[in-house]
Symmetry: C2
Subunit: 521 residues, 2 copies
């Protein structure tokens, strides 16, 4: 499988000057191979960021292109940038160079020199090329590796290979950076990462349809004497689901450890085939004892700004590439659909501007005084007591304030049972200390609240929401024993990655998207 | 719910000198309350690590104990250490102090002073105590919050409250530290965090029994004309499971991005009720292009040492507590079951010593020449071609080498299909480039291998292991297009947390353990 292509010159000299018998020639190859093996591989990111001109280097990666039988573009995933390796093709066996095709993997040794051409500062003058693995050009042509414009749909069908494209290399390196920024932020702030359960018997959140988890064969589950499914025979002895949120368990942690966060997969079995929904997605849920709604907003804003700053600082090359990609794509769009700010400017804007904070009641007032309302351009009613629709949120974020907006103090009845009832509300106008953070182009990116810490009020809310107390006895216990004010929020991690990469379909920011009728790879 | 206990002295003075009408007294409370609210709360960890003597401070937390109507021990989760708040009880209303009981939550303002008593450097001279939430002592007595020795079984039944104990506070703070050390290590080394799918249609790993995921009602799934379950009607249009490993998907990432790691939940539906198994646990799976088995061992060793060093440096107080706890528990055990080294010494030992690296073949030789073998003390046979049992691994790690041991190059047929066949094996003695890392007291903590990168060999292995190629077409594609040598491993995260905390039951190092017949909370 491995073949060694020695530079033809050296090989010729050997042939010209000596009459090596076979064993000697093997020794020569063996030595070369030893050298290659003993040389430490340098990552391309390192080569390009701190180039040591005239150094002998060994790189390993995949061929992105091979032009004029001379210029090999190699990428190893450490950066979006390729290194150019220049072959003196007259001295290489042409038959062997033919195996250096797009998608093939290679190990290249040579000297790092200042580049003669435009487009790169340094390049490698090749001494040896080893083809580690070939890639049949006829087959490559059918894949996303073929260097040409592919539709995102086609790239999704080949999710196993799309990591090898510039766009998805950039997206998944940035996804990593966002993850790390999150862990770093919370660690620095003294939070503890809490792994809340994925399989759960609890259905208190009421956040949506759930997936069942079982070891039963469908249509072959044991039944009891009454003919009902006998769950005592199932693995956990009762019906269980995939979690929709780790929040309730996070509250258990926060009311002892003070500050915790979750960062894990969550699930919704909702049949919604949109560009903003996944059946399996990652959520970040911090929860802080002694925080009220204002503290919660401060935390959210600081946290989201940290992520933007981190990506701006640490992902410049990938961000540049995605910004150019977006600007190109925008040209083909009608003016109204184009981004007003470029990708990096949007991140800088979030990092440098205070979020607008308004109550739901104020939002309704603004909307009812707005032009689109008066011109009857809104499809949905705007009235105190009805939830805000996407068109309303977009108006507030993209037209009225032109910045991230936090809407607080929503009517209680369309928010979750655990949100804290505000004091002193008018009869019939009970609000809760909830907050939704809306981002331009994305919509709701964070939802949170101060939690109801008063046992008697919480019990009443359980009753109002038809949640039997015996289902949440453990949750109620935190209010029974030394209850404290506390607050938290949930960040849809993929939505944040969409925002920082400018990708407009959520399926393009998670490695292997799970959606209705799709669980490939 | 909130009550304000003003120091009795001030209250008395007010009463003596004036004849305040009710509104004035309210104003007084209101002002006090404003002061409390405007003061910034200091975390106890900060107070104790950098004490500013004579500063006015506000702390919030839970009462761990209240002795002699004078010394309130408060903990806020930021550290295992309590702060002592000293009340001048003659000047406090006794009826109100009675509400300051174990488990109650309090906000305390006062002056930080050097401690008069032994056991702490500083303490708070209390000015004001606000009881945020009471805790009924009769009820508390039935919980793990009652400050006395509880069995770990009892603590597990109250997993929702065990965060409030010293032991579990320490365990879960350290669990966080280990998580962060992992992310930090890989980020520093240029790895990308890859979120591999939790719900998967792939069953290639063959790692064990899987949980089914469905939206079907049990015994009420639609059937096709042949009377078989019609999976096209299920959410994903086919049978799907919870992942047992993200490795195969990680290889897709590594063969494009170069170096990736997963860190996510994995599942086994195995009915094993042991102290080392969970149905839901977290795995860390790095995968590196261009690495061979030696590189893989170097990476593993460096990585595990980093974790030990990180915990030693960053979790000193929690580690001290757990070390003392273990030493106490050891006293009650027969000498043979005691730990030879203390907890911290074990971490230092791993951090400072090279792991022993031996082949499976050499391990068999050593075992067959050992005393227990000759004295027929081993229960299981020791013969080339049979897998090593726990008793053999323990002998090698705990008796023969007394340090972590990496065993490599196992016979192919009891290892996974994707492990690389070693070259030049004797007929019938095919081995693979596998490695298991064994830790004292824990057993296997890491399993890994160089992967089979040769398409023809891998296809043959699929056939040998009865894996239809059409199930793994996407996996085979990485070998078809520019295949490269690569290697990786899986760390059982909970086993690592067991090692660094000294906890001996895996259910005590994960917040909410999932085991057969148990999915509480």
């Amino acid at each position: 499988m491995r073949d060694c292509i020695a530079p033809y010159t050296q090989y010729s000299i050997l042939k010209l000057n000596t009459d090596f018998s076979l064993p000697y020639r093997y020794t020569f190859y063996f030595c070369l191979s030893i050298i290659t093996r003993r040389m430490k591989r340098t990552k391309i990111a390192t080569l390009l960021s701190a180039p040591e001109v005239n150094a002998e280097v060994l790189i390993k990666g995949w061929v992105r292109a091979f032009r004029s039988n001379r210029f090999i573009q190699v990428n190893d995933g450490s950066t979006i940038n390729n290194i150019q390796a220049v072959v003196d093709f007259e001295n290489f066996d042409e038959a062997i160079l033919k195996r250096v095709t797009t998608g093939a993997s290679v190990a290249i040794t040579g000297t790092l020199v200042e580049s003669q051409g435009a487009g790169q500062a340094v390049e490698i003058q090749v001494k040896e090329v080893e083809v580690l693995g070939e890639a049949n050009p006829d087959e490559v042509q059918k894949t996303v590796m073929q260097p040409k414009k592919h539709s995102l749909e086609f790239l999704r069908e080949q999710a196993h290979l799309r990591f090898r494209t510039n766009t998805f290399g950039a997206v998944f390196r940035i996804r990593h950076a966002v993850s790390f920024a999150i862990h770093q932020y919370f660690n620095n702030e003294g939070f503890y990462y809490l792994h809340t359960p994925i399989i759960t018997g609890s259905d208190a959140e009421g956040a949506g349809e759930m997936f069942k988890v079982t070891t039963f064969e469908p249509n072959n589950a044991p039944v009891n004497e009454a003919g009902e499914v006998d769950y005592t025979e199932d693995f956990f002895g009762k019906p269980v689901n995939l979690t929709v949120s780790g929040q309730l368990e996070a509250e258990l942690g926060a009311t002892a450890l003070g500050q915790v966060y979750t960062f894990g997969p969550t699930f919704r079995a909702e049949n919604s085939n949109t560009s903003r929904h996944l059946a399996e997605f990652w959520m970040v849920e911090p929860e802080v004892a002694f925080n009220d709604l204002n503290d919660n907003m401060d935390l959210t804003e600081d946290f989201l700004k940290h992520i933007c700053n981190y990506v701006l600082t640490n992902c410049a090359d990938d961000l540049d590439f995605l910004a150019k990609r977006e600007a190109e794509a925008d040209k083909a769009k009608p003016a109204a659909e184009r981004n007003e700010l470029g990708l990096k400017e949007r991140l800088e804007f979030v990092a440098n501007n205070d979020f607008e904070r308004i109550t739901y009641t104020r939002a309704i007032e603004i909307l009812r005084n707005s032009k689109p309302y008066k011109k009857k351009k809104f499809k949905y009613e705007v009235e105190w007591g009805t939830d805000l629709q996407s068109e309303h949120e977009r108006f507030l974020v993209e037209k009225e304030f032109k910045k991230p907006v936090i809407i607080t103090d929503y009517p209680a009845y369309f928010k979750a049972f655990y949100m804290r009832n505000n004091d002193g509300c008018e009869e019939g106008k009970q609000t809760v200390a909830a907050m939704d953070v809306l981002f331009p182009g994305i919509g709701e990116i964070v939802g949170g609240s101060q939690r109801e810490e008063r046992l008697d009020v919480l019990k009443q809310k359980c009753a109002d929401f038809n949640i039997p107390e015996e289902h949440v006895w453990w949750y109620l216990d935190t209010r029974k024993f030394g209850t404290v004010p506390h607050a938290g929020f949930g960040l849809g991690f993929e939505r944040m990655v969409m925002f920082v990469t400018g990708m407009s379909n959520i399926r393009d920011v998670i490695p292997f998207p799970r959606t209705p009728q799709n669980a490939e790879f």
